[in-house]
Symmetry: C2
Subunit: 115 residues, 2 copies
């Protein structure tokens, strides 16, 4: 089980759209340089570096330096504990807390998803 | 699909151990008053109110007032989009990104879990 502080860092890191977009870009390739990652975003390199720092602290990415080039990669498996935390709660909330409401909400979501 | 800003709020709300503990307490009962929720925590009522504000903004709880008593409840289904976001990534990262590493890490995690 991941320690509490790691869950804190993981969830906090995911609470930002640029950081989630960086992760999605990394998922499309084996690795990317910092400038490749920064390219599509309308923010400056130092801001990207700061986001990468947060993602690194949360253990979601690794950074390796070769000469002056830093290559960033996803760290496989690093979302597992956050996912497990959510899975246990989502299941429990849906099946136990206020059953009729949960059922109605699930049906409404499914109906919307089919549209 | 949940909007980006809702995902921001959900993940940010989950990035705090007191807020996650409040959610877990709420999952054990049909509803709780603010003072019932505050009771096990070594923090003052205004701090608890602030955490409830963050959880409410993220749509994870509902608050209803009857006279002077505020009852707090979980909002069923409110974790679903955050869960879906993580599920898609976790699967993808584990199966595609750096396969041997992902496999080795998964095995190591499983071995640790069996201990």
């Amino acid at each position: 089980m991941m320690e509490n502080s790691n869950l804190d860092r993981t969830f906090a890191a995911l609470g930002d759209p640029t950081r989630r977009a960086i992760l999605d870009r990394l998922a499309q390739r084996a690795g990317a340089t910092v400038s490749e990652l920064a390219e599509p975003f309308a923010i400056k390199l130092p801001a990207v570096m700061k986001h990468l720092g947060v993602l690194g602290e949360a253990g979601l990415i690794t950074r390796s330096k070769s000469g002056r080039v830093v290559t960033v990669r996803l760290r496989p498996g690093s979302l597992r504990d956050a996912l497990a935390w959510l899975q246990r709660r989502e299941l429990f909330w849906s099946t136990r807390v206020d059953k009729p409401t949960a059922y109605a909400e699930r049906k409404a979501t499914q109906a919307r998803a089919r549209k």
